[in-house]
């Protein structure tokens, strides 16, 4: 487990890398290891989000919203054909930001959880 571990997660970009380094810089190696294990479980690959989003053009809309725990938006997308596909196009353009929004929240949840024990 070295310092480059975060960089090996799929679809990692600069902003996320800097954020994770900053968040875990005071951790001892053991805590850091547990953080990495929990984080790679919770993390969503941006590419997965993009692919499930693009499924809207050929089949079911809104799977990406369900993946990111936005149940209400997911139901809305499902029943309205992704707001007549307009919402699907917006999300396909914006998929990196959507994934990062979810991952950032996940990383903060895990940090809070590790802080307790």
């Amino acid at each position: 487990m070295n310092d480059f571990y975060f960089a090996m997660l799929p679809g990692m970009d600069h902003e996320e890398l800097v954020w994770l380094e900053e968040l875990t810089k005071k951790y001892d190696p053991e805590t850091r290891k547990r953080f990495v294990m929990l984080y790679q479980n919770r993390r969503k690959d941006p590419q997965t989000i993009l692919i499930t989003c693009l499924l809207g053009f050929v089949g079911v809309n809104g799977i990406h919203r369900f993946l990111m725990d936005e149940i209400l938006m997911g139901i809305l997308f499902l029943f309205t054909g992704g707001l007549c596909l307009v919402g699907t196009v917006i999300d396909a353009i914006n998929y990196r930001k959507l994934a990062w929004e979810y991952n950032k929240q996940a990383s903060m949840d895990i940090a809070a959880m590790l802080g307790k024990f």
Binding site: L72, G81, C84
Partner: protein, 91 residues
Amino acid sequence: MFPRINMELAAWVAGLVYLAAIDPHAGLPSFCLFKLAGFSGCPGCGLGTSVSLLLHGELRESLHHHWLGLPTLVILCARIVQLAKIQFRYE
């Protein structure tokens, strides 16, 4: 530093402002990509008119056009609040 506005936030706000500004009875231009692609329609058609009617205070007609108009407005407002919180918390 120039704040980077989230595109999703801008899109939802612009959409709702547009629907509030137009006259819903005049008939909206169709944004439906399914229709533009040659299909006869999709489950979301009539949603824009429905939300627009709702923003003008005509609940009954709104429900007549699309039954998801009211839920859509509520969910979009919730999402806008959520995005705005994220946008302005870290600055």
